[in-house]
């Protein structure tokens, strides 16, 4: 029998790294009790594979082989250090557990990855650190890739990650999936990180668009992992929401880089596979009767997706969904969206009255989308001068380049 060439092993190992390193890392953190020790041991195991697989052959279960090799490498390392420091011997013994060597595959528990996600999104960590840590440890992005996605420098991201890991270690944040009464709140922190990553990649106003799209794709991938491990209604709703928004990405930016509003999008370019999957997930989440805001937002997106033309949109249903969302999560921005839906359903005057009332209350006074929505309704009512003033106010408040250009174009169309 001939040995497989090392090049082939290297390619094979690269594929195993891409597909399995996050699961291996998640298990090793549990077994070895620390992020850095686990990462170190994992790299040692991959190195060992590079040397031993060409001679011994590729094991039937590469992941189990890598986990158990990493574990022994870590114990070896602790033993080596123990020569200088006797107290470490106890740790090595504790890691061995005095048990017989486990059969291949027994080391891994199905919810290791979930533990890793919950730890990276722990509320004790700074919110921006949660996102960076999750991308690096759960998704396997490098510090440099994360920095590019967030349009910041690698040392800034590196420092966030170093601090977050130190906090996990120093405050002994437990590596576990929360249960019972703690679960809903902790899960909300996790879904918030996933949705933040998605929006960073979706609503971003600057930066190379490719990198940003990858960030959204990463959020969807992460959402799918979460869905597989913990199919709670709001996780289902969140994945549906992301898929339904993502389905419109190709139609959302015009040839000249302009934002294209939903009503003007070329619906034939929408990703219909994502839409089908998203709608099925919305229905699944709604049927649990324990759904929350993500599911309702996904349901609203689904109604839009089902309309072949803007005119065919079921605005009555959208108004009802916004009312339900508002009852669950009162917010002036949701009120604004509901007002726009009512304008579509009952006419611009009804919507305008609601927006004017909202603006009088003051919370949205400096929110450019409130003024641009108002401008649009004034335009449809033929009140051009007021529409112009409102567009100008919106343009003055807008922060992103594409939005400013969009409002500029609207102002020109008014003439």
């Amino acid at each position: 029998m001939s040995e497989p060439p090392t090049d082939e092993i290297r390619t094979r190992l690269d594929a195993v790294f891409r597909a399995e390193s996050r699961r291996i890392l998640a298990t090793l953190i549990r077994l070895l009790g620390g992020f850095d020790t686990a990462e170190d041991a994992m790299h040692d195991a991959f190195n060992a594979a590079l040397q031993r697989w060409p001679v011994e052959g590729v094991p039937t279960n590469p992941r189990a082989w890598l986990i158990s090799t990493a574990r022994f490498k870590a114990i070896d390392a602790i033993r080596r250090r123990a020569r200088f420091d006797a107290s470490q011997d106890d740790i090595a013994d504790a890691l061995h557990g005095g048990e017989p060597a486990p059969a291949a595959g027994d080391d891994e528990l199905p919810d290791d990855r979930l533990k890793l996600i919950f730890t990276c999104c722990h509320p004790a960590l700074a919110p921006e650190a949660r996102a960076a840590l999750t991308l690096r440890e759960v998704c396997g992005l490098t510090t440099e890739e994360i920095a590019r996605a967030f349009l910041t420098s690698a040392p800034t991201i590196a420092q966030r990650i170093v601090r977050a890991k130190a906090k996990i270690r120093d405050e002994r944040i437990p590596y576990q999936v929360p249960s019972g009464a703690e679960l809903p709140e902790r899960l909300a922190a996790v879904t918030a990180v996933v949705y933040l990553l998605f929006n960073e990649g979706y609503a971003a106003s600057s930066g190379p668009s490719l990198t940003r799209a990858e960030l959204s794709a990463e959020a969807i991938r992460l959402g799918r992992v979460l869905l597989e491990l913990l199919p709670e209604p709001e996780v289902i709703g969140l994945v549906a929401l992301m898929l339904l928004h993502e389905s419109r990405r190709p139609a959302r930016i015009g040839a000249d880089g302009e934002l294209v509003l939903l009503e003007r999008q070329d619906r034939s370019t929408w990703n219909h596979a994502f839409i089908r999957e998203g709608i099925a997930l919305v229905e699944r989440a709604l049927s649990t009767r324990r759904f929350g805001p993500y599911t309702l937002q996904a349901a609203i997106a689904a109604v839009h997706s089902e309309a072949r033309t803007p005119e065919a949109t079921d605005w009555r249903q959208i108004c009802a969904l916004y009312a339900a969302l508002l009852a669950m999560q009162p917010s002036p921005v949701v009120e604004l969206n509901r007002a726009v839906a009512i304008a579509m359903h009952e006419g611009p005057a009804a919507g305008l009255a609601l927006i004017d009332a909202l603006l009088t209350r003051g919370e949205l006074r400096d929110y450019h989308l409130a003024h641009s929505a108002r401008a649009d309704l004034l335009r449809r009512l033929g009140r051009r001068d007021e529409a112009r003033a409102a567009y100008e106010r919106a343009r003055a408040l807008a922060k992103s380049e594409p939005e400013m250009r969009f409002l500029e174009k609207r102002l020109c169309e008014l003439v």
Binding site: T142, T143, I157, V162
Partner: protein, 134 residues
């Protein structure tokens, strides 16, 4: 990715410790370098002789002026460089923070710059400049 790690050291560190202490410091550093080498992280490196052995060259008034001594007169001087292969910046930070040398002075970690595209463009420019005119 390749990272260049610059290890600084306080020149008084070795002056104030016993031979036994200095030996154990060096042993721990060499042992860790061996570990890095065994794992494929150590891509090269050199220790530097003390700053008193340094020459500094500077271009001034149309000519190069050589002076003796290091570029900057500071307490902490460059003691050595290490070329590190790591997955990303956080991995490099993690590997260097375990280096015993970190106890004796600060390390600066910088990614190696990939100049291959710049070099390719420069070669094209130089080829163009070398072509006979007309």
């Amino acid at each position: 990715m390749k990272y260049i790690c610059l290890g600084y050291i306080d020149s008084n560190t070795f002056a104030s410790c016993s031979d036994a202490e200095a030996n154990s410091m060096m042993d721990s550093c060499f042992a860790y370098d061996d570990q890095l080498r065994a794992k494929g992280h150590f891509k090269g490196g050199e220790a530097l002789q003390p700053p008193s052995t340094a020459m500094t060259l500077r271009y001034a008034n149309g000519r190069v002026v050589a002076t003796d001594g290091p570029f900057a007169e500071t307490r902490e001087q460059l003691g050595g460089i290490l070329i590190l292969e790591a997955r990303d910046l956080n991995h490099a930070v993690e590997l260097i923070s375990k280096h015993p040398g970190a106890k004796f002075g600060p390390w600066e970690i910088r990614p190696a710059a990939d100049l291959s595209e710049m070099m390719r463009q420069s070669e094209a420019r130089r080829r163009q400049a070398g072509k006979p005119q007309g």
